[in-house]
Amino acid sequence: MSDPSSINGGAAVAMVGKDCVAIASDLRLGNQSLGVSNNFEKVFQFGDKTFLGLTGLASDVTTLSQVFRLKTNLYKLREERSIEPQTFANLVSSTLYEKRFGPYFIGPIVAGLDSKTDKPFICGFDLIGCIDFAKDFIVSGTASDQLYGMCESLYEPNLEPEDLFETISQALLNAVDRDALSGWGCVVYVITKDRVVKRVLRTRQD
């Protein structure tokens, strides 16, 4: 396992509900099979209602989260407003493609609400910035197979925020429990029109 994208492990998922979105990740950071940290969040906020989940090589996760903090700060200075999810998705895509032949080993996902219309938006990317617009859910990380299986069977459209929270949590929890490289706690953000709720989940610690 010298594959850079599965050295540190980690998983992230985003889902669309009725007038809301949720994005979640695990908290593990490891070195191959050795767990190193149970406090490594992979979800970052870059606007009022714009979130980015970043799985993959931990150094690239940190680097990119800082790159996007810089870029979104400059964006805010120039535009005098925070970045929209759609806009941010294109920023992620072009940033990744700049490194087309020496890519960051990451699997980003974006989730958020449009500030004008309050319409939910989610999307995912490959490591060189190809955008995957999905209506329902996006998964990423070393537990992506497990997440696909969970989301495909648990998800239903137009869930209320509380139900969406339960769905995304169960999907992530059960998926990471079947992946040796993910787990060690989870964090879930539920984003609605008038608030963002962050919850930290207790999980198995093995």
């Binding site: 497990q146 059960n174 429990d177």
Partner: protein, 243 residues
């Protein structure tokens, strides 16, 4: 080092370096399987798609079999090995009857025997994930699952094959109620285990396979569920996505 090779048909050279062995005796024929044990029944389900690479060889090639004595079996992965293993086991059941006056082969004996078959080829393994399902001596549902070289375990449920990684966490959640807690206990009290009814199990199996077929290209076309009860083995077929 031993002598190993000739450079070509016309060369008298005998070299001591091994030549490249390019015949690969294995392939992957896709498909996925799933077994669940209930209170007084067990099911073993598998899709009916048979593939090599991106080719769909057949849309209906059964991969779960009634091997007799109220036991159903599947060996998913490399189809030729799967067939060889199942044929050998069927044959053994036959001989067991000849030698023991028609006595039924019990699940736990069948399970142990399959381990012997698999481990017997430890150094040229059967490339399959094997599952058997049936009823134990008390009449309770039983599922046994194996790795390719015979390590085995009795379980409540198990997914195997191409989409095992998609289905298994779903089963943890919906059959063994993993990560489910009783509301109002602040996550302190786990939802206790209880057996599902046959009807619930079949619906669960269909959901699992529809999800797998949605996301995995080696899964699809048809779903065949073999149901074992004290009254024998029954088969249910339903279609899956064909794309």
């Amino acid at each position: 080092m031993s002598r190993t090779t000739v450079a070509s048909e016309y060369s008298a050279e005998i070299q001591s370096t091994p030549i490249e062995h390019r015949f690969n005796p294995y392939s992957d024929n896709g498909g996925t399987v799933l077994g669940i044990a209930g209170k007084d029944f067990a099911v073993l389900a598998g899709d009916t798609r048979h593939v090599t690479g991106y080719n769909i060889n057949s849309r209906y090639e059964p991969r779960v079999f009634d091997v007799g004595d109220n036991i159903v079996m599947t060996a998913n992965g490399f189809a030729a090995d799967g067939k060889a293993l199942i044929d050998r086991f069927k044959n053994q059941i036959k001989w067991y009857k000849f030698n023991n006056g028609g006595k039924k082969l019990e699940m736990q004996s069948a399970a142990r025997y399959i381990q012997q078959l698999l481990y017997g080829k430890r150094f040229f393994p059967y490339y399959v994930s094997t599952l058997i399902a049936g009823l134990d001596e008390e009449g309770r549902g039983a599922v046994y699952s194996y790795d390719p070289v015979g390590s085995y375990e009795r379980e409540q449920c198990r997914a195997g094959g191409a989409a095992a990684s998609l289905i298994m966490p779903f089963l943890d959640n919906q059959v063994n109620f993993k990560n489910q807690f009783i509301p109002g206990t602040d996550g302190k009290e786990k939802r206790p285990f209880e057996y599902l009814s046959l009807q619930e199990v079949i619906e669960l199996v269909k959901d699992a396979f529809n999800s797998a077929a949605e996301r995995h290209i080696h899964v699809g076309d048809g779903l065949e569920i073999l149901i074992v009860t004290k009254d024998g083995v029954r088969t249910e077929y339903s279609p899956l996505k064909r794309d």
